[in-house]
Symmetry: D2
Subunit: 319 residues, 4 copies
């Protein structure tokens, strides 16, 4: 293998640039050339690539977002789009691909392998941490710290007013962000998609805190009750409680990655190159209990990664 | 004067704790006792006060929110409420008051002076910077830095996707936050209440940026068009542009104060004590061109503080 | 068991307050009273304790340092000092103790158990991560992020000048901090106590970077060559290279804990209470591969925890 | 005027990139081309320049350091070096120059104007704030916030141990950084070059704090007593006080600029272009009381900017 490509796709996540840097430097150390695909699958179809060397990846390790940009491509979801992309990759002489993204990205990667036999290895890049086959995804640690810092600020004002605050965090259908952030924020109530949300219990906790004290509620966006606004509406209608709402939104996707995300991305980038060289394909490279693990791409989205039970218990004990 | 009180009221702002600390230490240096009123005007009516010394104010300088808590009291808006509060203050032997807050706070302060002749001096504590009589209010510098840091993160993701992002910042009817934050964020468009908002111009700037590049729009909450959601709706309906919306919300109120806010709060706290001792009352202590300035409380809300013209020009030149 | 004590000792670490909070709330949930010992072993000898409840531990989760304070007590290293402390604990009716600190703290804990049979459970609180029996110590994650953020700033100025910068980080005789921080900083050279430091290799890397480019060198304080100043001196004398030195120092000990440290401290605090209740003593509660693990206190300092080999390889590949 | 150059020189400061961006965009809005000189005066001698447009300056506003790099050039201090630089500027058709730096930079700028009549306008870029002719220099606000945040962390550990900490901050022969940071840190003692440093008073304050409480001492690097290490030595020898020392060092130069620095740099960059167009030369563009002010370059270093008296008083009252 003499030439490989790397790209980022789907929602961007802090650490994607660190991964790109690690792929490039890992490949260079084995004498392999690396091309970066600009704009994810859309860029692949257009053949929008540039050669990446040591210089192009200097200082990438601390940079948020992704310099290769990202996209959600409808065209690539069609067989024709993927064939066009494969054509372009072959034009460039690309013999292997490293993809960084979430389940949507891996669906596409799986298909291009099945249909065009271009070896492809995935790396988990998403703030949501919702991929089976790795303890943590790249971007998750940064996102939870960004969210926790934001909520520390909200707590200042919540404490000053003795108010109920409902804060919605990201995470799609998984409660990883909400759970870690909720515990870290010292929240009085945490609502995650994985458990039944008991609004009467929330009401009781607000009463226990008392009128003079704040109550912080953390809501994962995929919770069954609905987002933070729905929570506030129900609290008002059912219990006559006024609550302030904050939806943290896209600040959770950006920012300079934490050390954990930088080291994880660096390690997985190098491991992905090694995997390609070892003849692996159609797998995601992840880290479980500090060991590198390869998981078939299909399993990353068909198998479900559960929240640790101890976190759910912990949240209850600490409130 | 041997005994004074200090309280915070209305929306909390970073630096209020630094002000409390400065009032206490400024007063102690003149041999005056200080009581802190807990919970703003509500606490005043209830006589909820505690004596503050050097120890109680240690490490307050870096703390967000307000340890004296705050509230919006309907009772105090009535003559009876204010009479009850004045009674309580006299019970404690309070001979002067230092208020920290915004225009709502100063209305109350003005009334209690008129009706009960308890000397009262205001200090400008609000993130909105919308008070006449001071270049900057306590909390403003922290709020704009918090917002700018948040938008730096959003820009990471906006750049990665080449998207249009509309970010709503606080500021009530004034555009101080939006203007400084917009310039600092390198925003392509800034909408403030003080100027006419030209949506066609925004559309042109989105086109100029191009499909591949992000456009960042900063909207002050008091802008005539409406909040960020209204902007997004109009962009969609009128120009078929998809935009992401983030409402920064209450994170802008919290956090450890910046150096400017710490120094400003420290200076105004000491100056407010000096003003009371010099027989001043019914005035706000502010800082204009680095000088301490006294402004009748009534003028702080009847006179309008304009945005600097040069900022509006600057924003245009830099986009 | 109806009454236990908790204390922090040795070097302080971010997350110690989160641990105190978790011990208190974990104990309260089982109907157990908790006393906090002020000032570590010194305070124990003096019987300096206060009862801790839910209110006293509100908002502790995000606070740096330790509200129980810490110390290094020479008196406690003597049998007489420990006897005096045991006496005081019995006076208060303390039936079990939870210690948070590093190896020095655990030595004392081990001795008081052997000599006075007061059940004692340790929790790993040190930024150095140098304790056998846990993947991570409380405070480590915050320290490496603080250091990495500081070095990101230094890199700005190093890049601007094309200079060689030598940055010394903490870690005592272990290179955990230096290694993770070095990788995260994209350092050109990392010196840790665990490996032989090849100064000729460093010189070669400086030459490879070239005169116009910066070189960042991260030195763990326990490295065989000596601290950053020694490095700079050798570079000057042996290779005529001018280098700037920064010793990060005590900023690495402070600051609001990261999410990982908050969650780890919360979990270990609750687990330590459970361990005491289960009759465990003379052990440290740690977390290995996400599982709670009990390690005899003596092993925590007699057994050596190695740096992961893959990190050493990774650092080489990425430069 | 159709073509101008911009460069940064001397110690780098946060906000220099924002200034470069503003110069480019300010010039483009008037139809003027801008070249960036790489590497300060050294790069000028070598004719190392590149054309800067809107694209090259995208996202520069939030970036620390200077993308144009900087240097201290001995060659430029000689007449011959300056003649070579002037030659290169004329080769490129440069009709005006904007310099960003401190007094060393302005000396060079003054000389090149006198000797070669190339119009040159200076902008104050230094974290030290030690230039006459402007209230604040670009980079100062960021540096004091970086230092204050670092000291907040040190205070965590100082409080936990009840220790004396001596922290040295930058500022050369001026105490601006030390004074603002000292007040913001709630320091017990602040030593600045502008005042006599009374070590007996420091000793008294340590005693007042008591053995159990921390004492924070902030020392400006230009203080008459010497740096933090000298302070520690004297405290030990004269008063038998053990103190910990931290020298903040180069972290104070880096980091993403604050809002104030971004807005100041943006304004001064545009104003410098306007000044060149208005025929001004051999002056520094500064901001005093929110107004743009032009000061002959020579005055910026011959006249002394004093620390505000009220800050010295304030520091005393608040301890």
């Amino acid at each position: 293998m003499r030439k490989i490509a790397v790209f980022t796709s789907g929602g961007d996540a802090p650490g994607m640039n660190a991964l790109i840097r690690a792929v490039v430097r890992g490949a260079l150390s084995k004498g392999i050339e690396v091309y970066g695909v600009l704009g994810g699958y859309s860029g692949m179809i257009e053949g929008n690539m540039l050669k990446l060397g040591k210089k192009e990846t200097a200082n990438l390790i601390s940079l948020g977002g992704t310099v290769l940009k990202t996209s959600r491509s409808k065209e690539f979801m069609q067989k024709g789009g993927r064939a066009a992309a494969a054509e372009k990759l072959k034009d460039y002489g690309i013999e292997g691909i490293i993809a960084c993204g979430g389940d949507g990205t891996f669906h596409g990667a799986h298909d291009i392998w099945l249909e065009h036999q271009i070896p492809i290895v995935g790396t988990p890049g998403t703030i949501d941490n919702d991929l089976y086959g790795t303890d943590y995804t790249i971007g998750f640690d940064t996102a939870i710290n960004t969210a926790a810092e934001a909520i520390d600020k909200i707590r200042d004002t919540a404490d000053s007013h003795g108010r109920v605050f409902i804060v919605e965090v990201m995470g799609r259908h998984a409660g990883f962000i909400a759970m870690d952030v909720g515990i870290s924020a010292g929240a009085e109530f945490i609502a995650v998609p994985e458990t039944v949300t008991n609004l009467d219990q929330l009401y009781q906790r607000i009463l226990t805190q008392g009128k003079q004290q704040r109550t912080i509620v953390i809501v994962g966006e995929g919770d069954e009750v609905g987002g933070a606004n729905t929570f506030a509406q129900i609290l008002k209608e059912r219990y006559e409680i006024d609550a302030k709402v904050t939806i943290l939104g896209h600040i959770q996707r950006g920012g300079s990655p934490t050390v954990r995300d930088r080291v994880l991305a660096s390690r997985l980038g190098v491991a992905a190159v090694d995997a390609l060289l070892a003849g692996k394909t159609d797998v995601m490279v992840g880290e479980i209990n500090s060991e590198i693990v390869y998981t078939p791409l299909e399993e990353t989205w068909t198998k479900r990664k559960p929240i640790n039970d101890y976190l759910i218990l912990l949240a209850d004990i600490l409130t």
